[in-house]
Symmetry: C2
Subunit: 209 residues, 2 copies
């Protein structure tokens, strides 16, 4: 989170101005990385586009990577709210297949959202060749979202719907990674029908029962 | 393939010189893209590094993308031969799990091979943001290798080892895409144990049988 003091400790006007600046900075950072790529995105460029002083950004974040990570974090939280979901949780209705299908359908929508698409690709592309950035991206953004599947699969194990010897951290990759690869590498179309199929195949297996 | 005339139509010395140049060009192209990335790799740079004239490259290929695609194609074929495998086929011993595990173990070796790692990452990263290049990469290199799994899974369906209603093109993603994502995005370690587990989960499913 920004290194600002809590809004309630400051006069309302300052808090409102800060919130407005913060949002302008996120928007500028996402737009810029989408347009010119990560290497050519600079704090100076973000500041100019957001209409704030460079020092405003440096007061809250220590690097362009930090700004971008939080801008994505914020974007994902917004997308979840727009979809009427509680961010950072996967529902447990007792029906594992239905719950996984619902969250993957919401992910399909997010991946196809133009606000998300271009900046995500730019950051992911840089993460492929800049291992340090890639690992931060994974640790801060990707892995926490994958842990939500771990939690849901563990609950399913407790309910006897997933075999007890299964490692949930590997199991989730059977439906999450195919979608990620199709989106990242354009290896195939993505749709609700596709992600529903992945869930069915993963839960029931390819071999006859 | 290069636009050269068939070697047997030319004097042996010319064919030998051409083969040597071709290999020098592939090596130079792979090294260069690994070092400076795809956008800054040029035909001129490849020619200089390979010690050939620029016209030699233009005689055989029409773009740097074409040179690189073939360099990768050649590298993969070499890797398969080094591993004692027939390139462009997945063995059918009658044991589907064993056959899939063997080919994925060979893929793990290839992904960890430094000759392959850096240029592959550079090309994949560019393919994420340059959709046209990405699609060519998929069509020419990735999809043909995925079709080998389709063939093997179809044979398994004929043998009653995979359910008849399964779509093999989606099914293969349950074990191929997790490995691809771990490698591409550094989302987790890759090992033989990991790919063996993916095959077991995919074939038998996560739900109790």
């Amino acid at each position: 989170m920004p290194k600002q003091s809590a809004p309630d400790k400051r006069p309302p006007d300052t808090a409102r101005r800060s919130e407005k600046s913060r949002r302008a900075i996120y928007d500028a950072a996402l737009a810029l990385v989408a347009e010119v790529g990560y290497p050519r995105t600079t704090i100076e460029g973000i500041a100019a586009r957001a209409g704030v002083g460079k020092q405003t950004i440096y007061r809250w974040w220590s690097s362009k990577a930090d700004v971008l990570m939080e801008a994505f974090f914020d974007l994902s939280a917004q997308a979840a709210q727009d979809a009427g979901q509680q961010p950072y949780t996967i529902p447990d209705t007792g029906d594992l297949a239905a719950d996984l299908k619902a969250v993957l359908r919401a992910t399909v929508d997010e991946l196809k959202d133009p606000r998300f698409e271009a900046p995500s690709r730019a950051l992911a592309a840089e993460g492929l060749v800049d291992e340090e950035l890639g690992r931060r991206f994974v640790t801060k953004l990707l892995e926490p979202s994958l842990q939500l599947y771990v939690d849901r699969l563990r609950a399913a194990q407790d309910a006897g719907q997933v075999r007890p010897e299964i490692d949930p951290r590997i199991a989730l990759e059977l439906f999450v990674s195919p979608l990620a690869q199709r989106w990242l590498q354009h290896t195939g179309p993505i749709s609700y029908e596709y992600t529903d199929t992945l869930v069915d195949y993963a839960l029931h297996g390819l071999a006859p029962r």
